[in-house]
């Protein structure tokens, strides 16, 4: 029996640039 026969759910990903906008950190360098 194959342990991973269940189809996985595709997680849509933002682009690298879009991801930057979601930055969760406070930028220490910015005023």
């Amino acid at each position: 029996l194959r342990p991973f026969s269940r189809p996985r759910v595709l997680l849509k990903a933002p682009t690298l640039a879009e991801m930057e906008e979601m930055n969760l950190f406070e930028d220490e360098e910015s005023p």
């Binding site: 342990p3 996985r8 595709l10 849509k12 990903a13 690298l16 930057e20």
Partner: protein, 394 residues
Amino acid sequence: RPVNIPRREKDFQGMLEYKKEDELKLVKNLILELKPRGVAVSMIPGLPAYILFMCLRHADYLNDDQKVRALLTSVINSIKKILKKRGDDFETVSFWLANTCRFLHCLKQYSGDEQFMKFNSSKQNEHCLSNFDLTEYRQVLSDLAIQIYQQLIKCMENILQPMIVSGMLEHETIQGVSGVKPTGLRKRTSSVADEGTFTLDSIIRQLNSFHSIMCNHGNDPELIKQVVKQQFYIIGAVTLNNLLLRKDMCSWSKGMQIRYNVSQLEEWLREKNLMVCGAKETLEPLIQAAQLLQVKKKTDEDAEAICSMCNSMSTAQIVKVLNLYTPVNAFEERVSVTFIRTIQNRLRDRKESPQLLLDTKVIYPVTFPFNPSSLALDTIQIPNSLNLAFLTRV
């Protein structure tokens, strides 16, 4: 009598459990504040990538898509952030290139996609992601790896560039070859003081340093080959460009010195088992220019031989070298205008760009061939020095 029975270690599934609120602490300790020269030295190569992937596996196991997304976003942004902060440090960039690639390889190796499972052990197959398909995130990570690679090349260039002209052209290691300096030619000195002058040895030492850093960080052998090819391209292009601009570099003896230097670089490739990475080929225009300085340049037969020998140089470059060629010793002669005309006529039908100088900023396209690991995730232990005690092995 008490018997010392070794306790069987708990069976782990190769996952790391973490609380949602510890996600920032995780990326802070493992990415933002980790010094490649500090605790990272004694770790197994790629350990941060494995740890992050084991955390991701746990979020996947919980079937918590928000936790998976949040972790991936934090990881990617933290890597970008550390590279923004320390992007001029070769070690930091090499370290995160190795770990980003390892993380990407893990996402493939444990994706459940058969094409990436060929080399997995049955235990590794049990560690595949069970709920989510992260194909799109793999693309984002691959884009990130390309950015880091380009940054690594820039970083390497900044270190190497100041050494090239001095080490490849100006510094003479073959004693007594150059003989008398061509009259009327000023000996150009670089802005570096004599004791700071770079030699071919400085270049080779620097290549060794780049190579050992990249190996120690666990960068893939195929990736290291691409970096070395790019390094050799830069060395060849900067050297040739300077030769094409400097009369004092266009003599028979400089040809000899350049050929010797190139042979040392080839020897370095051989030592490192990198002869088939395309690096040597990038030096071809420089090798031909050095040969051009040394061959006879008089008869029609000489012209024919030069045209077939210099197939990696453009007509503009060949003509320029011939024009700049400066006799140093009595047995050498200046190249006649008629000879140069003959060469130009012979090469008239070549289809090529009229550009004289090589573009030293060109970066060859990079690829990250899949490189699965034989390491079993359930055997990975986290050193205390990483300050990740809030993670629980599952």
